[in-house]
Symmetry: C2
Subunit: 480 residues, 2 copies
């Protein structure tokens, strides 16, 4: 990306957004006039004004960083978005497509034909094309393959073959490598041949004749060390090595623990094949945390804020459907006790408290266990110990909060036995929540699934139905 483009604070960016919105508003105004007057008398004048806004807009976009253009595109409703997209210089299309969110990318790609899409990939590296590939039509991808030189074609094939959450998916091929038996002088001369070093080149990689990684040479060492020295004597031999099939999550944790800027990726046979840089890791961390938040909120994917009503309905339906089923089951549990409720209607008012608090408590346990599992600090061997502790917390909370509610129930309905049933039901449901809160994430992990996704829905389903069953069951047994 050209270095003459200004980098902005969020506020300035928002000002830009407002300026673009204003230009678009005026553009629409003029367009409306032109249409209403059917290109009559004022045609010339208005066409000029119209054009002027476009030129102004085009200049504004020209001076913006691809990520900032992406920001503007995401913040505009679809018709405006496509107007702006038309104005962006074609050779920047690829860079900008890489920056926008999935939903917005789809909307932009839909507006382009195969020729334009093929052109958009031209300035991109193999790893970047691989990032776009899932959204590109089959024929465009074939076209891309045909247009690439052999070496890059192999890289693209490799990049497209890695799983989405693997190190391979974060990797790029812009690593610089040198030999260990040359002097720093030679390395420096070699680097000077580059017009510009690839972004995030904080180290060059030292390889032997078989491309086996032997060490790393930090640029900061290169700068402060005597140029007569041999690479072998200066290079570091303790470094993080990633494998393309490693989990991206583990690589991200290594970057975080060791404050890395870049790390080598080697094939299982020890050959250097690429590198991962911190910006890819930052994007991954952000995307992962976003996916978790979306999943917790029950959205399938990032929603374009300006998506049509129908797109939003589709994005949200699966979660609502799942919840509908679990709510229906809970409802049937209550239905089974309708006789009891008819006899003692207070049960209807008290039962949601038991179910609700159980769900909350279970979610607390799950949040903590999922975090510990994700950090890799807790394994199944410790499950028993954790379960014991969570059960103790549940009993304590059950007695405290269940006790409070028991007193409240007694106070409202003047029945000691109802109070006792309330306290007992709360304690039992909290125990159930604790067991499931430890058990569900560990089970999901054993099944090879991400315990951060879906655990919360499952536990709420169990504590709802379970809470109703326990409370209404105890009440039926002891009160009626």
């Amino acid at each position: 990306m050209p270095q003459t483009i200004e980098r902005k604070a969020l506020e300035d960016l928002q000002e830009d957004l407002h300026a673009v919105q204003e230009l678009l508003r005026r553009h629409r105004l003029v367009e409306g006039l032109v249409q209403r007057q059917k290109m009559a008398r004022h045609e010339l004048v208005e066409q000029l004004v119209h054009k002027q806004h476009f030129v102004e807009l085009g200049k504004k976009l020209e001076a913006m960083h691809p990520a900032d253009v992406a920001f503007i595109l995401e913040a505009l409703p679809l018709p405006d978005r496509l107007v702006v997209w038309e104005l962006v210089r074609a050779e920047r299309d690829g860079e900008i497509l890489l920056e926008v969110s999935d939903a917005v990318r789809e909307s932009l790609i839909r507006s382009m034909d195969s020729q334009e899409l093929l052109a958009a990939t031209e300035g991109l590296d193999a790893d970047e094309i691989a990032d776009l590939a899932p959204d590109l039509p089959e024929e465009v991808i074939e076209g891309v393959f045909r247009s690439l030189p052999v070496a890059e074609r192999e890289q693209l094939r490799a990049a497209m073959s890695y799983a989405e959450d693997s190190v391979g998916a974060l990797m790029d091929f812009e690593e610089i490598s040198v030999r260990e038996d040359v002097t720093l002088e030679v390395v420096t001369r070699y680097l000077r041949r580059f017009e510009e070093l690839p972004d995030h080149t904080d180290q060059v990689f030292v390889v032997d004749r078989e491309e086996q990684l032997r060490g790393v040479l930090p640029i900061s060492k290169l700068i402060v060390t005597d140029l007569e020295a041999l690479v072998r004597g200066v290079m570091l031999t303790d470094y993080v090595t990633l494998y393309p099939d490693d989990k991206a999550q583990d690589a991200a944790q290594a970057f975080e623990r060791y404050d890395l800027v870049s790390a080598a990726v080697v094939a299982p046979n020890g050959k250097l094949i690429g590198r991962v840089t911190v910006n890819a890791v930052v994007d991954f961390i952000r995307a992962r945390s976003e996916a978790q938040q979306l999943a917790k909120g029950g959205l399938r994917e990032t929603e374009d804020v300006f998506a049509s009503v129908w797109q939003s309905v589709r994005n949200r339906w699966s979660w609502l459907a799942i919840n509908m089923v679990t709510a229906f089951i809970a409802s049937r549990v209550i239905g089974a006790f309708e006789g009891s409720i008819e006899k003692l209607v207070a049960l209807a008012a008290l039962m949601p408290i038991v179910a609700g608090i159980g769900g909350n408590s279970g979610n607390q346990t799950i949040t903590m266990i999922v975090r510990a599992l994700a950090l890799g600090q807790v394994d199944e061997g410790q499950a028993k110990q954790l379960l014991r502790k969570e059960l103790a917390v549940a009993v304590t909370n059950g007695l405290i909060w269940g006790g409070v509610l028991g007193v409240v129930a007694y106070w409202l309905y003047d029945s000691v036995s109802l109070g006792v049933v309330m306290t007992a039901a709360m304690s039992l449901n909290l125990l159930l929540a604790a067991m499931l809160g430890v058990g569900i994430p560990i089970l999901m992990m054993r099944l090879g699934r991400d315990p951060a996704l879906g655990s919360s829905v499952m536990i709420t389903a169990f504590t709802d139905s379970g809470g109703f069953l326990i409370f209404l069951g105890l009440a039926t047994l002891f009160l009626l």
Copy 2:
């Protein structure tokens, strides 16, 4: 940190953890034997074995990166943790304290006296001491101030004065600055005087005599450019400038948008005062996403997995108390309709469905709005447009899912009017959820609070009570 320390993949780290656990287990075994036999006949032998484990453990820790020692400490129950902490070389205490989570840091600091704490801060930079300061006793901080040279004392005072979520809190003072009227040759000679460049030095900052920032000189440019050139001719003048009172969140977004490794921090008067590096940003992003997840799960802070039952109960009580109150209010809403439920007990079984789906749908809306607000792509001006769309989604979902449930209610209870009431109540509660889902985050933002925290609890409270009120109210009006 010494560069000879190995950096590990998560799996190797977990193996280390198991080795430490095994050594500790053997240590406890021997200790148990020694105690039971009251230092009798075998005393000598066992003491030796005992010591041997300690030496082995000490060596293992010695060779580990501070972040990895932190990992081990977090994964151990308190007694074991303190055994390991005792074995860590004192001069590494500070670095390790910086790496552990808040809860574990507290447990370690509690085990140290003022003298040890003062010593632990010795190797640290001012910005690092400021990170520890909230957990240190008053007298230790005074001691630290007394022990620092004047310049660093000022830096520490400044670093401690910034709000937790400001750029100032992420900043360090390890920036290197040069003048614009010197050659790259001079800059290179200057850099060679450093034994090692500070971590994450991807650029040096160009300042004038008044310390005003004039440009930045990327190291990668320094390497590839002719050494005769003047800094003025090579430096970049378009760069991100951060102010210490900027929101850390905005700085993190700038790092993400522009793939930065470091950025200058300048005072409002334009004077260069420090820099922010990507590792601080990564830690911030991770901590923020963790805080949001914890808040959504209802935990006040990161919980030490091995915290005592009582500590856990305290960490979790406030969320349970809030939910107890909202559940109690919902229960009272039901209580007001006990007469209706007595007459038509089916209402008791159906009402949780209306409340639950409303909560889910509201959370979907909130998740999307909070994300758009956090990215700065949506402002209050667009609130009306968003509201209109969410209301349309709500009506659609209300008719679809409410319709399904209406049919189910009719099928279960053989009453058309009950089915109609169910559909109407669902639609109305989804409309309520949509209004609150847009309104609550925007209101919280206007009040200057983080909409990501707490919005979810609020909307669930409203859709629960609201759902019961709407459903039971409609049923009372039209069915009884």
